[in-house]
């Protein structure tokens, strides 16, 4: 047998050994599998929470910016100004501090007595909400005022006009930006390990700690994130095409 053939054979044998050592021995693949479950759970619920928080804040902020000039002095005007201030403070704090710090504070200080995964969902939800809020607000502001007037002229009140006429159009317009935010969120959850949460990244890290082999677990983790993002991008692309085609 020639030298190079022996080299390749050796390499394959070593590769196989490392694969078995990293994933099969002691059922180590479970760290990745369970971690993936946690990552998806945190991302999904945080996304849900973020969209709700973001939409509410976007509506308050956009309503404030659009109507405050025309509004007569009244209790509801004061209320709107008050809520707008609160929203602004929220946006400033959440966007002005790192998510890791927010997570650590939430897990170890504010919600230290509850399940860390739950605390992580809340943290990432609140964090994502701030970014979603600005995305949705830009969507609302981009709808021409005539749409709003048409809704009001038919007799819809402010909330109904938002719900039936403005938001469906605004959300469709910002779908690409929202998808982007979701991708960022998915990858951002990889810092959950800082707060002793066993997500996908932490799972890879644990294997690394057991086997002292950095290549296999880390590359596998990266590939799983990549596949998730690709799958999601494809799904959003499909949804977007469907929404657009209905208009042409």
């Amino acid at each position: 047998m020639a030298d190079w053939q022996a080299n390749i054979t050796n390499w394959f044998v070593a590769f196989q050994d490392r694969f078995i050592n990293n994933f099969i021995v002691d059922e180590r693949w479970r760290y990745l599998w369970d971690g993936l479950g946690v990552t998806l759970k945190v991302t999904f619920f945080a996304l849900f929470l973020g969209i709700i928080i973001g939409s509410v804040i976007a509506i308050i902020r956009a309503s404030h910016d659009k109507t405050i000039k025309e509004m007569p002095k009244s209790f509801s005007r004061i209320l709107l100004i008050f809520f707008n201030k609160i929203c602004k403070i929220y946006l400033t704090i959440v966007r002005g501090t790192p998510v890791v710090v927010q997570l650590l504070i939430m897990v170890f200080v504010i919600m230290s007595s509850s399940d860390p995964v739950f605390a992580a969902i809340i943290t990432f939800g609140i964090n994502s909400g701030a970014y979603v809020a600005e995305i949705v607000r830009s969507g609302i502001m981009s709808i021409e005022p005539g749409q709003f007037e048409a809704g009001r002229s038919l007799g819809f009140n402010y909330i109904q006009t938002m719900r039936y006429i403005i938001l469906p159009q605004a959300l469709k317009n910002v779908l690409p930006a929202l998808a982007n935010e979701f991708i960022v969120l998915l990858k951002e959850t990889s810092v959950a390990g800082y707060a002793a949460i066993q997500d996908l990244t932490k799972g890879g890290n644990i294997i690394l700690g057991r086997t002292f082999d950095a290549f296999f677990p880390l590359i596998t983790v990266a590939i799983i994130y990549l596949l998730l993002v690709m799958l999601f991008t494809w799904l959003v692309g499909k949804l977007e095409r469907r929404l657009r085609s209905s208009e042409r």
Partner: protein, 247 residues
């Protein structure tokens, strides 16, 4: 007050920047049941602002508007209820682009009047047939021409069974060859006895269909009379000037 009066406008003003800009400067007007009132005037005269004040899309700074016996400028009045009875047609149509024609038309009746979707659709189809657009019921607004869009906008407002129709320069954004089809629908509506307030630059329409013409300039009503006398024998110099330019 005459029972026949459906909209009674008393001394409304619309000021911007603390009164530096006076878009409307004391307007008194009445609209009677079944009447077609046409508002004409140079651009910037406040005619659109006046029309938009009638359903409070613009809140007047001062004065009162009484609609069907209710003071709608009263802060306690529920304007949403009154707006259901005032259809409005815009210069730029403002159809909802994310909905089909039939959805555009049935949304408000279903959500606001509690009519069943089936019944609302039936009524919408009747109206679409009247404007010869029944075949476009499932089209999206982007698939329609300007004239078609405006006809849809008119029947969308009619779906709420309004007592008054407000038209804000309904033909100004249309290609010339499409103006006729929209004016025809409006004429038909007028002959059926709909109360209408129309802001327009179509002097032919004003003359033919209007029961009364209001000429506005600089936020005030300059002259108001029947079309025949305002077009053939205007009494004010300002009106003469304007008509000389547009006729």
């Amino acid at each position: 007050m005459n029972d026949n009066v459906i909209i009674d406008v008393k001394n409304i003003k619309k000021h911007y920047n603390n009164g530096i800009i006076k878009a409307l400067d004391g307007i008194d007007a009445q609209v009677h049941n079944g009447e077609v009132v046409v508002v004409i005037g140079p651009s910037g005269s406040g005619k659109s602002t006046f029309l938009r004040c009638l359903n409070l899309l613009e809140m007047p700074t001062d004065g009162t508007i009484t609609f069907e016996g209710h003071d709608i400028t009263d802060p306690k009045a529920n304007i949403n209820i009154h707006r259901q009875k005032m259809g409005m047609v815009f210069q730029h149509f403002n159809l909802f682009p994310h909905m089909t024609v039939i959805k555009n038309m049935t949304l408000a009746p279903i959500k606001l009047l509690g009519i069943s979707p089936k019944e609302a659709e039936k009524r919408a189809m009747e109206l679409l047939t009247r404007v010869n657009l029944a075949d476009r019921a499932n089209a999206y607004p982007s698939q329609l021409s300007g004239g078609q869009k405006q006809r849809i906008a008119i029947v969308r407002a009619l779906c709420m069974n309004p007592d008054v129709m407000l038209f804000d320069e309904p033909t100004s954004a249309l290609d010339p060859e499409m103006v006729g089809e929209v004016l025809d629908v409006m004429k038909q509506l007028a002959t059926e006895g709909m109360t209408m307030v129309v802001v327009t630059h179509e002097m032919g329409f004003a003359r033919e269909v209007g029961d009364r013409v209001i000429f506005m300039a600089d936020g005030k009503i300059v002259e108001e009379s029947n079309p025949e006398s305002i077009f053939t024998n205007p009494s004010e110099e300002r009106t003469k000037n304007f008509l000389a330019k547009v006729l």
